[in-house]
Symmetry: C2
Subunit: 226 residues, 2 copies
DNA sequence: AGTTATTTCAAACAGTCGTTTAAAAGTCAA
DNA sequence: TTGACTTTTAAACGACTGTTTGAAATAACT
């Protein structure tokens, strides 16, 4: 494999072009149709390179798929996590409302474009229902840290006598709503008959925050300020 | 195709055996691994019949997949819907709590076995993210009717001045939580480290009802009785 | 019984799959 | 320019895909 001149990662554009194009197109296509529905030929012809390049750069198709997660998906998820973390860490004693608001904004609007976001969510939803090796990566490196972070934030503000399994349920429910409103866009559009546009998204975040906040506060005493 | 003697559907066991076995195994395998990951040979060898039977009885693989939805998935979904409907229709002026409780029980416990339930949810989650023709069937025949029913029930008990788009959001959120707690079982088990057993499920329903109820009631005045 | 229609089957079809090969092209230092 | 390397390429590999074929088996009716 790539021995080349040095350990530099971004220096030599020529060398990485093909590899990078492959990753980009592979992500796009895997997100759209899934691992099994996409062939190596689909990817290489989209990346305008030879078919053997996949095996040269990634040794096989599955490893290309995993590399999409390693080098693209997880860094992007971290981007959203950090958008949430820096916001919430800049506050002193954030209220549940502030925490949930920051979470919903980071993961429903987020620092990503709509297109990036779409691919990003499609990939993870596939993994959630069809776990491969990639799921291990995602769970360990993004899902669990986010869950821990939320738990830490909310157990401080929630009733101290109630920091039990119920908080886990609440966090999972908030998780669930946010995830759901992303992964089931086609269903939502179809069932309601309304488009998933910017206006819809803005009202959506408002709703998610309110719904989650009150849902959560039903257990403890931290009635929302608003 | 099957001209046979008459229009009877259940009379002749011999004739339908192969066809029925194919549908049964096809559903199981499609649910487990998805349409593209499963081959016709996988299905026919699981159903212990010849490969050409798929094309004889269903003309092609995709139509077998669609027939799984037509003759198995949708009737089963109707079973759950009716469990919900009969319960809720037997009440006079049901409260939001009663409605949500009936919904959660019907769709989280439901009249199905755990195994049936698992396959059922796996199939629909695949469709939600990889819509095929089957999605049209499901949306028109089960999703939309359930949504309409919920809307009708809740707009009566909610504040009359608020029967707007917010109610749609609320219903979708309740939808979402229930769906989420089914489709992301592997993630939940992994992130929390706890099993998805009977005890977990019981506390889960309790949680979903409470969370949804208070989330909903944040908007209108129908504070829960409990 | 004989006749007809229905269902099953083994075998082969043409096409696609992921992967490998070995040669050609490109790159860069000496 | 030479020589050692990395990268790209066309072509082919065997295995597997969904589907078709035509004959054999089974069932149903006269």
């Amino acid at each position: 494999m790539s021995k080349k001149t040095s350990d530099a990662q971004n220096s030599d554009t020529t060398v990485k072009q093909t590899r990078e194009r492959l990753l980009e197109k592979a992500e796009m296509l895997f997100a759209q149709k899934g691992f099994h529905a996409i062939g190596v030929r689909d990817i290489t012809s989209a990346a305008r390179c030879n078919m053997a390049s996949v095996n040269y750069h990634f040794s096989n198709k599955m490893n290309l798929y995993l590399e999409v997660f390693r080098s693209r998906w997880i860094p992007r998820e971290r981007l959203m996590y950090e958008a949430f973390e820096t916001k919430v860490d800049s506050m002193t004693d954030p209220t549940p409302e502030q925490i949930i608001q920051a979470l919903a904004k980071a993961y429903l609007e987020g620092p990503l474009t709509d297109e990036e976001f779409g691919r990003h969510r499609q990939l993870i939803v596939r993994e959630l229902n069809n776990p491969t090796e990639a799921f291990e990566l995602v769970a360990d490196q993004t899902l669990r840290p986010l869950f821990k972070k939320l738990y830490g934030l909310l157990e401080n503000v929630a009733g101290d006598n109630l920091n039990d399994a119920n908080l886990s349920f609440d966090i999972m429910s908030i998780f669930g709503i946010i995830l759901y409103f992303n992964y089931s866009r086609p269903m939502i559009s179809r069932v309601t008959g309304k488009p998933y546009d910017a206006d819809f998204k803005a009202r959506l975040i408002e709703h998610v925050v309110r719904f989650s906040l009150y849902g959560m506060s039903s257990r403890s005493m931290c009635a929302p300020a608003s």
